[in-house]
Amino acid sequence: MKESAYSPQQSRRKFISSLGCLTIGFSLTGTRWAEATPSPSALALPGSLTIEDRIDAWLEVLADGRVRVFTGKMELGQGIRTAIAQVAAEELELDLTQVEVHLAETGRTPNEGYTAGSGSMEHSAMAVRHAAAAARQQLLGLAAQHWNTRPEQLNLSAGQVRKTGTNQVLSFAQLLNGKQLEGEVKPSVKLKPKSEYRYVGKAIPRTDIERMTRGESVYVQDIRLPGMVHARVVRPPAYRARLEAFDEKNFKVPGLLKTVINGSFVAVVTEQEYQAVQAQQRAREHARWSQPQPLLPSGQDLEAYIITLPTRSQNVKSQGTVSPLDQPDARTLRASYYKPYQMHGSIGPSCAVALYEGNTLHVWTHTQGVYPLRDALAKMLNMDPDKVHLKGVPGSGCYGHNGADDVAADAALVAVAYPGKPVRMQWMREDEHAWEPYGSAMRMEAEARMDNTGRISHWRYALWSDSHSSRPGGNPGNLLAARYLEKPFNPPGSGYAGGAFRNSEPYYAIPNYQIDVHTFEGPLRVSALRSLGAYGNVFAIESFMDELSVKAQKDPLDFRIMHSTDERAIAVMQKLKEMVRPVKTGPNEGIGVAFSRYKNTATYCAVAAKVAVDKATGQVKLQQLWGVIDAGEVINLDGVINQTEGGMVQSASWTLKEEVLFDQQHVSSRDWTSYPIFRYSDVPIVEVAVIPRPHEEPLGAGEAAQGPTAAAVVNAIYRASGKRIRHLPVRAEEVAG
């Protein structure tokens, strides 16, 4: 495709120098390759090769001999760029500096859907590993041909092939001689033996961290394009409020270039950024909105309310019979738990830059899925998807589906209404807090019966939850702005119910059980928050396991181990036991533990928490967290540790502090004062141990700690104070006394 007319040499130079970073630059060049149907043999391939098996879709040899790797996944702060580079460098015997990783971009990288569910190692890294191995084979083949020798006589290092025992070398670029890698990855491709690994499994430092400390341009927020204008969106006062009138005649602010009004979607465009901030405030005074029904019947308690809502109910899994639970006796136990709405709470509010020019829309976005968002934007704008080009650029950490897609839709709508200039759409703090899709409130009910040896014989569990995913997935109804247009797109109704019952089955050997899920549509907008329903379910199950262990008078870890049959589960718990064994607790201090295997099929994680409780005030001080994680094959050891540390701290913050509040009209948690999160004085000491399993599948570590940390914290509070906390967040008045 031809370069966009927008990028004459001069502005391109300015563009690149102002970005100072290759991964953001050069993004107007358009399509590198077209999506194609993979060959039938692709189905036998690992990871994302099933959707794209051409070698050159994943790797490209650059003229200077370096290799560019294409991933359809996004950098979310999990260090994916480094992990992918490690895998490619390993198979191709490159130095890490010889690998460049190109993040998700439509028309340039494979369509790997969303960067979510801790699947990036399993899907993208595995595809890159096999594609790189296939490339290695091909390059060796070319060299063998060139020297008329056998591949065994050749040696690969630092981007060159050497004829063994000679000084003859050829770089990858020379071998390809202006061509690119060809063909598909075959299931039979030979991988480098793991025993010879130099990079994979090691704690390789991320190179982007130095760039961050230097204040280089890293984030979508840092993009500055020539002629760029600034935009803000003016959201209604309530979800269902509609614009009745906007007094455009009297709406005058300095620098105002355009007021975009489309149905109830209102946005302002100005020359300077601060003018946009002021225009957003002033525009509110000129808009008249309808008064919709209140969010909740007045005086209603949310937990009581959600179980009165109509539900779609479904049995998740059952085995044997649970009828003995209908006659409660001394051997049965029953408890219910609750978690409130919680928010992603990114430190940097969502942002996107969009440019509409020559019938093509370019959007720079921190979405987790450039392709699904492209399709949703194209439908919203009634455009050909080929004319919508999205480039993934990192934003502030998102921890799931935050405002990233919505702000891109806002930017796209404004760019189309104000063509020819790059539009930088930045959400303000209030926009993010009040309009992001939250992690759903959930209620969980658990019942169990134990035999006289303390073994659980019967288990019944039911949960109530809203959906845990309303990602765009090609559907404009999931984009906030699209719901307010003159021709609105309606939300497609309940999203992914599977998210609600993620980890709703206990990962323990219990002969009789029944698990049911009841999905409702609650008052607030919801979507995927790190670990989805696993946080609430593991909080409930692992709190309940603690209650049962007390009843059975067993050590809480031994109690879990005695119900476990999976060696890897037992190993993380044994390791945790070793870590906390030497720890002493003083008066009013306690240690709590919890375990889960994420999704019951992925990463194993056991967590211990130590708290001190002030009985008079009910104040809880979280002193320390220990985590043990088995995420299968580790690609970057420090990456796994960093993600687990961060996950534990974040989950502890959710558990001890966080709840999205709302009044009759709308969300009232609109800033860090009305929605407090952990500050330094709250943060515990953390220690993480990794059990490496080089010969297992890599599983991804980003979400495994969320659930177990919550339960470990409340279990520790119980051990310290005798108070059982079943409603989150932990409240001092429930701990006091």
């Binding site: 400390t213 300077q272 950024e273 992603h344 952990f678 943060v683």
Partner: protein, 155 residues
């Protein structure tokens, strides 16, 4: 109502014509094209936008730029040594890999530099107190505290 304003940023004088009520942050990011200071909350409660003002770490998201004339402003970029090497605090952040998304990192480094300037050897409590205004959502605080201890040792 734009006005001519002279700002001293990272050792250089800048003459600008801006609306004098513009918060410093927007001028640093947009007029001076500095990426260090970040917009996080605009309420002086998260620290993402911090700069050193005459050596003191302060949020830049609310102070009007006109009140900054004659003050010495240092941003993350200004901590880099003339030979291009990193300030010991920046170096310690790299060595400890003290970031996930890194969006909070600007404020963390700035607050840490100010803290170490006033207290060469802060203990755990002093570090927490010195960093209390800075939020991190990725949960990187424990690594940042290690980085601060390392910088204290190495400088």
């Amino acid at each position: 109502m734009e006005k001519d304003i002279t700002l001293q940023v990272n050792g250089k004088q800048h003459s600008l014509r801006v609306d004098p009520s513009t918060p410093l942050l927007y001028v640093l990011r947009n007029e001076l094209e500095l990426n260090g200071p970040k917009y996080g909350c605009g309420h002086e409660v998260c620290g993402a936008c911090m700069v050193l003002l005459d050596g003191v770490a302060v949020p830049s998201c609310r102070v009007p730029v006109e009140s900054m004339e004659g003050r010495k402003i240092t941003t993350l970029e200004g901590l880099i040594r003339p030979d291009g090497t990193l300030h010991p605090v920046q170096r310690a952040f790299v060595q400890e890999q003290a970031a996930q998304c890194g969006y909070c990192l600007n404020g963390m480094v700035i607050a840490a530099v100010a803290l170490l300037d006033s207290n060469k050897n802060p203990d755990d409590a002093a570090i927490r107190a010195g960093m209390e205004r800075n939020l991190c959502r990725c949960g990187t605080q424990t690594r940042i505290m290690k980085a601060i201890q390392r910088a204290a040792k190495e400088s």
